[in-house]
Symmetry: C2
Subunit: 404 residues, 2 copies
């Protein structure tokens, strides 16, 4: 007999596979009878408070499979970061709608919201099971080996850099590509997978974890350009100066902040144009000629490009949704995050563990030091970590191979 | 018996399928004995003048097929626009190397170079056959129904806008996406293919051919946002003001120019940030609240993203290369561009015609008026034109379909 209803919501920046997790929960919940109505909250916590729900019990399977392949949050997402009063409203909505299960798909901020609501329920002796389902292209959740959404964003970035490397070889110059990742360098690091042949870029990779001075940046670019006659740079939007400020902060103190207090770096070409401008101003081509310098900011495409996901990522995103729904049949599972762990051994195999949400919420993790080399490159160890998550990349070739 | 050697070169902005045409020529030339050595010029005309050639007769088939799938010019490209003296040097290199066939893959500027060199040869009674093989994501060559490179760039743009539409629906706000196309709106127009369901963006599409005032832009955005609570805008990098100036010119008179005298618009987030800033400054959300406005500039990814080409585009790019090589066996074909034409009828079928290079060189074509609606939208007629070139797009779904 069902003990009540369930709510599922999606939160934070969307990914290409966040709907896989949603569909995983929906399909698995249908298999057992422990949940009465499964309600999809429109725009996360906002939909819970406003009781704006999509009934999910009877969505046709054919539509579900199409939604699973659709990027961004099909239920709508939110950037709201609930305070205590907001969490009270969420809890009140749960009580009113006899919600006994809460599935929340999101990153560390969303996990924290889920944790607070679960504590509120426990304090009120209200029977509520809370499941955090991971999602973030930043790949920065503690405990989790990696997070759904990262593999597909990383595949997009690696492929984009592969293509841009050949573009840069065609029309040589200096190219700066700015990649998402405000605090964690995982996604920018994934650009290293673009290197297929000896001379391939990215020739320089800058992550937030390795502070970078203007002097080092310019010296690096100058050295590569002098040697190769071109230079492809992958820089995180969140790169830091040695004084602890971000390049973006130093560049402008007027940047917009979102409701989490985070500075808005994406969706703006400002940092890329700044880096390109710095090179144009400070460096010269041989003979004092003007350098050809360009910048692109990959922007939202990294998280929302359809039809080009990592198959591994899509499968794993579905799986963590399914596992969350399976755990919900066990009343002893009061609260937890579904975390993927890599089994020991050569072969890439994943198992999930159920870890308390507090181990995942709030604080995030950073790109480990062993993955960073000389402050401008990424190691083979990172490649080994990331390759199975990203999966196969496009097959390419160059006439340079004839020289071998 | 071979009458001499051949040179093939690639020129202008690269595309995702420009190497398909190169490989088409190489493979077809191998079938007949009319050409002795096939020489690939590194970086177009520059490689001809510098006699920097890659011998292409014996490149392994396996490598050729990988190169065909690789974006950007495998031989290297150039932005050099040869003047009379430069063309003399090209002709001198041809004489010296007994070059009797010249295959040049490029857009209208490259066609013009090929034309001048051919005239020089004719004036000197030097036996030279010259073939222009079309390539441009801008799709702006006269006579040609469409050009190789456009279909793949259009597929990338349409898919990117599809994804961004769902991103924008997830986290509602106003989003500006700036798309390549300095003078011709074909690529920006292709964003219309992203609309799969009733509420889907892009809600506004701006092309260079439809002059746009600040007032109309803001009124359009305000109207859509008031109605839908969100707005996705696809704007060409080359949009014009009613006074004939481009938005980019009006925004800044300090923009860098390339060696063709073209203003550099791509590879910079400036126009997108300008449009977003204008909205933020002039419009307000209901209740006087601040609008969530973001901008992305798709940049080089549009022309160089690997693994996501239009199959039709790839096939046609190979085909025009093959056809050029076939024509070269016929001594009566002195000079011409290989132009695709659509056969009459419902079914999409392509035939090639051989048209004098002067019909293609220099002047370009624009998006026809019948494809533009109300200065902010693209018609069904354009969709019918573009769909077969772009091919199938990713399959997606939304819970809104349940409302039907």
């Amino acid at each position: 007999m069902a003990k009540g209803n369930a709510v599922i919501g999606q939160s934070g920046g969307p990914t290409s596979v966040i709907n896989q997790s949603l569909v995983g929960v929906i399909q698995e919940v249908r298999k057992s009878a422990h949940i009465d109505r499964l309600l999809g909250a429109r725009h996360g916590v906002r939909g819970i408070v406003n009781e704006d729900f999509v009934p999910l019990n009877n969505v046709p399977e054919e539509l579900l499979e199409r939604i699973a392949q659709t990027p961004a949050a099909a239920l709508g997402s939110t950037r709201d970061k609930p305070d205590a009063a907001y969490c009270e409203k969420i809890f009140a909505s749960f009580q009113k709608n006899n919600v006994r299960f809460f599935f929340y798909i999101g990153g560390n901020d969303s996990a924290d919201t889920a944790r607070i609501v679960q504590e509120l329920a426990a304090a009120n002796r209200y029977d509520l099971q809370v499941f955090h389902i991971p999602k973030t292209i930043d790949n920065d959740l503690r405990v989790h080996d990696h997070t759904p959404g990262f593999g597909s964003a990383a595949k997009f970035v690696a492929a984009a850099i592969m293509g841009d490397n050949y573009d840069n070889a065609s029309l040589p110059g200096i190219k700066v590509d700015v990649i998402m990742g405000r605090n964690a360098g995982f996604l920018t690091a994934a650009s290293v997978l673009a290197r297929q042949h000896g001379e391939d870029g990215p020739h320089l990779i800058y992550v937030p974890e390795a502070p970078l001075s203007e002097e080092k940046f310019l010296a690096d670019v100058d050295r590569i350009y002098s040697k190769k006659g071109r230079c492809l740079i992958a820089a995180s939007e969140g790169i830091n100066l040695p004084n602890g400020k971000t390049w973006a902060e130093a560049m402008s103190s007027n940047l917009e902040k979102d409701s989490h207090g985070n500075i808005q770096l994406s969706g703006s070409g400002a940092l890329g144009d700044h880096l390109a401008g710095l090179i144009t101003k400070k460096l010269q081509a041989p003979g004092g000629k003007k350098l050809r310098v360009r910048a692109d900011t990959f922007g939202y495409l990294q998280r929302s490009f359809p039809g080009f996901v990592s198959e591994t990522d899509a499968r794993e995103a579905r799986m963590v949704g399914r596992v969350a729904a399976q755990y919900s049949t066990d009343e002893s599972r009061r609260e937890g995050s579904i975390a993927m762990q890599r089994k020991p051994g050569e072969k890439y195999e994943i198992e999930t563990i159920f870890t308390s949400i507090k181990n995942v919420a709030r604080d995030t993790k950073h790109l480990p030091a062993e993955y960073i080399q000389d402050g401008n490159n990424i190691t083979e160890a990172f490649k080994a970590y990331a390759r199975p998550i990203v999966g196969p990349l496009p097959v390419v070739g160059t006439f340079d191979e004839l020289k071998k």
